[in-house]
Symmetry: C2
Subunit: 214 residues, 2 copies
């Protein structure tokens, strides 16, 4: 098993946490997005989409972080990253998608580059965009977990799972332009708990083979 990763990629960060929670050891192959290595022919030969993360398993290349994580959860049952009950599973997946669909794709590198290069936004304009969409998503996320009796030490109960491993990298990103995190006390409590957990610490962008100063 090989994970194509980039230390700063929050989608790769999610997969690293999942691998660590499952106790799966996996070779990491760094692909430097900042230097455009994802567009080089040698990486395109492996992954024509030129995206990170990608997980090579049994000669197949899996792409998109959430399907990779669902695969890991189906192929390696313990510890589970999703609850057993279908209604609870839908709840946890919805939390994950508030971030993975409604926030992260709108504030990732290619969108920020497009805003700057094609729409002429300056640094302040890019930062305002970035923080606006993160704040919008975190408000929904906070409202759900603050109101729901299924919240515990983690987003669902007292063990880390899918919602946590999507939330933590997004909150890490929120530091980029110093988003005010005070409106999200439940998120802050859970993220602090995650950031003390060995699986999350080992997956942190500061602790990767390709880490650079943050």
């Amino acid at each position: 098993m090989r994970l194509f990763s980039y230390f700063r990629s929050s989608a790769a960060y999610r997969v690293r946490i999942a691998l660590n929670l499952k106790g799966i050891s996996c070779d990491q192959v760094p692909v430097h997005l900042g230097r455009g290595e994802q567009r080089r022919d040698d990486y395109r030969a492996i992954n024509p989409q030129g995206l990170v993360p990608a997980l090579e398993v049994e000669g197949k290349l899996l792409t998109q972080s959430l399907p990779i994580i669902e695969y890991l959860d189906e192929a390696h049952k313990e510890p589970p990253l999703l609850p057993a009950d279908p209604l609870d599973r839908a709840y946890v997946r919805a939390l994950a998608l508030i971030i993975a669909a409604d926030v992260h794709p709108i504030q990732n590198l290619r969108i920020l580059n497009h805003l700057r290069d094609e729409l002429g936004q300056d640094g302040a304009g890019v930062a305002a965009w970035y923080n606006h969409w993160i704040a919008t998503g975190l408000r929904s996320f906070e409202a759900m977990i603050a109101a729901d009796p299924r919240s515990g030490q983690f987003c669902f109960g007292d063990a880390p799972g899918l919602a946590d491993l999507v939330l933590v990298p997004q909150v890490f990103n929120a530091g980029r332009y110093a988003l005010d995190m005070s409106p999200y006390p439940t998120i802050n409590r859970i993220v602090a708990r995650c950031n003390d957990h060995p699986a999350f610490i080992a997956a942190h962008p500061a602790n990767q083979p390709d880490s650079e100063p943050l």
Copy 2:
């Protein structure tokens, strides 16, 4: 079971197709996004996030289209919307997320409003943004299904499933600013096949209780 829906919402369109494929009858409650009904107190009392679609099941409100569809697939096994093999499931989910994460959230109504109202983009600027991100996603999608031996009459084999029900609403959206669809022959073939299928026809934005002229 009640589905909070809007005829034009492509995320609601996905859920309508899934319900139809499963043969599940469900009351539809229209929420008019164009008139801002999702922000009204009576809807916020049901769904604090003010989003569509939402599915009310056993007194619980499920949100986010893909978790709703995965729930339907877990609670109503036949016909399956995902393959049985974990690696194949990851492939189909990745196809779905190319659209559901990397395209649709970047071109939905709130983003277009933001581009116009906050970044001062005119109609041509909004249209260029819209088509740029749809084309980027469809290129990846086409490359995957054109190369993969698992493609059949539908995205995976010869029965419709998760990837198809995410693809079809996105291609419907691509008509809004008349995106050139000629670079996507495999997508076009599969979408044409879907658009002849009763479950897809009944879910089409033109055929809803709240439909307006398209």
